[in-house]
Amino acid sequence: MIRRLWALSRKELRQLFASPIAYVVLTVYVALTGIYFFQHLVSYNQLLFVYQSEGLTAGGFDQGTVPSQINVLNEVFVPSADDFGLFLLVVLPLVTMRVFAEERANGTDELLLTCGLRPYEVALAKHGVTYFFVLLLLLGSAIYPAVVVLRAGLGLEHLVALYSGQLLYGCAVASLGLACSSFTSSQIVAAVLGYAIPFVLLDFAWLSNTVSESVAAVLREVALLSHYGSFARGVIELRHVVYFAGIAGLGWLASVASLELARAR
């Protein structure tokens, strides 16, 4: 089974990087994250300048010191992580829309599903390779933060926490996109659903005023955003890991189900 998975994964990788879309997505994501991280760094630098300027300290704060809440964590990393998460939401459906839908549209799923492969193996390879691509995206975007972390003395562990959160979140979003792709043969439909579902699932704050307190509490737990924040602060919480893993698992199960249901059609 390992050998089959490995062969399938190589095929997926070849398909992924044969099309320009993977490179375009990498380009856009790396550029966007670079620009936004830069913006946060610059405004942080400006803030430091304001606090450190001799002429301004007459108005309040102790000379030359910067209040402890003005730090690179709160001013750069936390807002950047929020931005990066949003960008993942924007670029990932462009990658996931193809994965199952193209196979179904070209009829190559017939080739795969009649040569003795289990549907769960096919889904596993496709999900695995997409998660690997998410990892690539994150590595591309991690260079700038890594440099800052090393220089700011935040500690690499902190970066590990930040990026584990990004990875888990990215995999969960990708998994939802893959599930959408697996139920259709149209890449456009897969992309629209791949945007719509995570977007609605992002945060149920808009519903919280119209439903009862207990329902709102459940919705809060289901929302993607409420599980995302603490990673950026350097804390890995088990319950958030379980949540994202659960969403990813659910997406995978939906993909397997779509293949089985197509057979029963």
């Binding site: 550029a31 108005g59 910067v66 700011a152 737990e221 289901v222 804390v235 890995i236 659960g246």
Partner: protein, 516 residues
């Protein structure tokens, strides 16, 4: 996808998107609501229509497959949601921050255990989910809930604070309030040090002793008249504190049980021996609140305070943004509304929660006595304020505009100082709060606007006994200057241009190869 479900999906997206775009203005708007309802309707109708058109799944085996997989999916969904909701209480976490910001220190844990053994009423940490810093602090408050058996945490929203905290004014800067029974204490900047201090203060078994010096023309705590200060004593007693007069100013020392010493706007000089007593008191970590008023002369202002880094000019603060609340709406009646947001003395004060300061005296900062000392101005007159040396003329309403060339704005009226002293480890911390006004605490004004909050904040902060737990701020002092501007820009070129360019070229190559 046929038209109806597609339109439904689009409308739902517009509903959610328009909510996010306008949520700072109002809640869920009628536009969003209409889109949501119509979208859901279209989606439902479309899905039903699609389902009717759908043919297939005939045969027993097919139906079994459909049933099995639908059930698996629904089951898995229920499992994920269920586990997720159940996991709200899970506390396992790995704290990878450099200084373990979200892991309670040994001192706090020890205090918690001591409190748990002692029993009694638990301390409640009320966490305001809609506060400005809520996201930063949630993990820390959760850590108290997990590791501190004598502490309960509860979530609240600003609109509905718990009963005991009803009379506390909350702003978006109020993130945590610690309560024990009917006594509540808002925590300023919600660090572990401050939260633990609040717990410690609330769990203290004896009252905080607040000593007032007398005999130099200070404020009269016994006077019930409009311009008396009986309300100060009453307010302190309400908060479980014990105000006392320091009867003998020439006593050899400040009493051992003094938690806070108040010098309430003296009009005469202290004796040199008395000043020496005060110096000794501060040098061993004493806590001092000084009220000062314009036009007063005392060696407390001219000798004692300058030695500790506070400069009190002999002038009066005038402000065009003066208060119409008093009959005489002259520039002398200040509306103070500019504050250092997270300072413990001005916590929960903001532009909307102002102070009324008649006849205020400027409180400036001079040289720090020692390099490790921390001095700060925490409340300011408005940018249209100025200083006048002629108190009589100003009081008579003769100075309504700043004279030509006068410097305006940036006039501090409250300042605080922290002074690590002594040889202990960590050293004891002397604290001084100087408030450039005494009238704000008069019987007729203490309940006006938010004057009472300033007084209580100051006394609470001074009376806090953090030394009892020797907890230092984790302080999170990373290199505040991570990259120079040149480095920032150099990396920016590499990451925002060079790397994406390379990736794009690779993509074009892949595309070209595919076409070839």
């Amino acid at each position: 996808m046929s038209f109806l479900p597609a339109a439904g999906v689009v409308m739902i997206l517009v509903a959610v998107g328009s909510y996010y775009a306008t949520r700072s203005l109002h809640g869920f708007s009628a536009f969003s609501g209409a889109n949501l309802l119509l979208g859901a309707l279209l989606l439902a109708v479309g899905v039903v229509a699609q389902a009717r058109r759908f043919r297939g799944f005939s045969g027993a085996e097919s139906r079994r497959v459909v049933l099995r997989w639908s059930a698996s999916l629904v089951g898995a969904l229920a499992l994920v949601v269920g586990v997720d909701v159940a996991a709200r209480g899970w506390t396992s976490r790995i704290d990878l921050t450099l200084d373990h910001s979200y892991t309670l220190s040994e001192q706090t844990i020890a205090l918690c255990q001591k409190l748990a053994q002692r029993g009694g009423e638990p301390i409640q940490l009320v966490f305001f989910e809609d506060a400005l810093l809520a996201k930063d602090v949630r993990l820390l408050v959760a850590a108290y809930g997990d590791r501190c058996p004598a502490v309960e945490t509860r979530d609240a929203r600003r609109r509905e604070p718990p009963q005991a905290a009803r009379d506390l004014y909350t702003t978006t800067a109020t993130t945590v309030i610690a309560c024990r029974g009917d006594v509540c204490d808002p925590v300023g900047y919600p660090s572990e040090r401050n939260i633990t201090s609040a717990i410690l203060r609330l769990s203290r078994e004896r009252a905080v002793h607040v000593y007032f010096t007398v005999g130099h023309g200070e404020i009269d705590l016994a006077s019930e008249s409009d311009t008396g200060y009986a309300a100060v004593a009453a307010t302190l007693r309400d908060q479980g504190m014990d105000p006392k007069a320091l009867v003998s100013p020439a006593a050899p020392d400040v009493p051992e049980d003094a938690d806070v010493l108040v010098i309430g706007a003296p009009e005469r000089d202290f004796l040199p021996e008395e000043l020496a007593v005060l110096e000794r008191y501060l040098s061993r970590g004493g806590r001092l609140l000084v009220l000062a008023d314009a036009g007063q002369h005392s060696n407390v202002y001219s000798e004692l305070l300058p030695r500790w880094g506070f400069v009190l000019d002999d002038s009066v603060v005038l402000d065009q943004a003066a208060s119409p609340l008093l009959k005489e709406a002259t520039p002398v009646n200040l509306l103070v509304h500019l504050f250092a947001p997270y300072d413990p003395v001005t916590r929960n004060l903001s532009q909307r929660t102002m102070l009324l300061f008649p006849r205020a005296r400027p409180v400036g900062l001079g040289r720090k006595p020692q390099p490790d000392d921390k001095l700060a101005q925490v409340a300011f007159a408005s940018p249209r304020s100025w200083l006048s040396q002629n108190l009589a003329r100003a009081l008579a309403g003769g100075e309504l505009q700043p004279p030509a060339g006068a410097q305006t704005g940036n006039i501090g009226v409250v300042a605080t100082g922290r002074f690590p002293r002594g040889t202990g480890e960590p050293p004891a911390e002397a604290r001084i709060v100087v408030i450039g006004d005494r009238d704000f605490a008069q019987n007729r004004l203490l309940e006006a606007l938010y004057n009472r909050d300033l007084l209580l904040n100051a006394v609470r902060w001074l009376g806090n006994d953090e030394q009892a737990i020797a907890l230092t701020d984790k302080g999170w002092t990373p290199n505040q200057d991570p990259l120079t501007l040149q480095q920032t820009v150099a990396y920016f070129y590499f990451l925002a241009f060079a790397l994406p360019e390379t990736l794009l070229l690779l993509g074009i190559y892949a595309w070209w190869r595919q076409r070839a």
